[in-house]
Symmetry: C2
Subunit: 170 residues, 2 copies
């Protein structure tokens, strides 16, 4: 999955170089680094990462409609439609139209899908516990709280932050 981070790892986090200390880079690199091992595990089970995301989301909220599932799983709608079709073919999920609103398509885990999802969620929990254990004590320990705050802060900002929409230095 992508060039392993570590290409710059640390030495020049301070210097004049831009990238290694840039927030958006740190977020992307941290996400990749943290996910690499578990994503390898997921693929080793014959599940692709986006499929795992869908499984996890459905384990939380079975029968979700496609659009909301897309938002929840961080997958673009058009792409998700195709992924779901494949997961359907594999017998992990089924689709049923919503009787209230027939535009909607609700996605449900099959028995096999639920078993797979639950197994992987277990693994994910165990893996996460390992990661967190490794961070105990340091600044990184409160990282989940910090990330949650960041996400909420940004989510709210989707709707106008007066006088701060532009950041280009023309």
């Amino acid at each position: 999955m992508d060039g392993q981070p570590g290409g710059s790892t640390n030495e020049d986090r301070q210097g004049e170089s831009f990238v290694p200390n840039y927030l958006l880079y740190l977020l992307a690199a941290a996400s990749e680094a943290a996910s690499a091992q578990f994503h390898a595990h997921v693929r080793a089970q014959g599940v692709r990462v986006p499929e795992w995301r869908v499984l996890a989301c459905l384990a939380d909220r079975d029968g979700e409609m496609v659009t909301r599932l897309a938002g929840y799983a961080l997958i673009e709608q058009s792409r998700l439609t195709k992924i779901i079709a494949q997961m359907d073919a594999k017998g992990w999920v089924t689709r049923r139209g919503d009787s209230q609103d027939r535009r909607r398509v609700r996605v449900f885990l099959t028995e096999a899908g639920r078993a797979l999802a639950e197994r992987l969620v277990q693994d994910a929990r165990a893996h996460e516990a390992q990661l967190l254990a490794k961070l105990e004590g340091g600044d990184a320990a409160r990282i989940k709280q910090a990330l949650a705050t960041l996400i909420d802060e940004l989510g709210a900002a989707q709707h106008r932050t007066p006088g701060a929409e532009d950041f280009s230095n023309e």
Copy 2:
């Protein structure tokens, strides 16, 4: 770029649901949420996100070899080779073989490429400053430190963490 996060935003960060409180999800969601606006800006300039990453890395370290550039930019090598070919076609970079080791290909910014890169880095700095300003005071303020720690912690772990390699609950 992907389903906007916000599909779950906050309400159930506490409940019994797994995803909204899972570290790997928080990292991915935070990365996306934080990057969305700036990535839109980049694309509006006619630059794709992976290209922007390459430009930024080269602005830091011009003349880097492909493999290292891949690690630095978080892009898989094979993919990077193709991206660089396109950037070359656009006149943003040029490639020169390394005379010491003729397997290597070093990538350099052209004048146009450097101008573009520097402009975008300026924009990125400004945008980052805005983001950080929004977080002042809260837990999220020290997020860069936390992420850097996390990355280093994980990077080191690539080489054996005895007795902690397995996390599946068979």
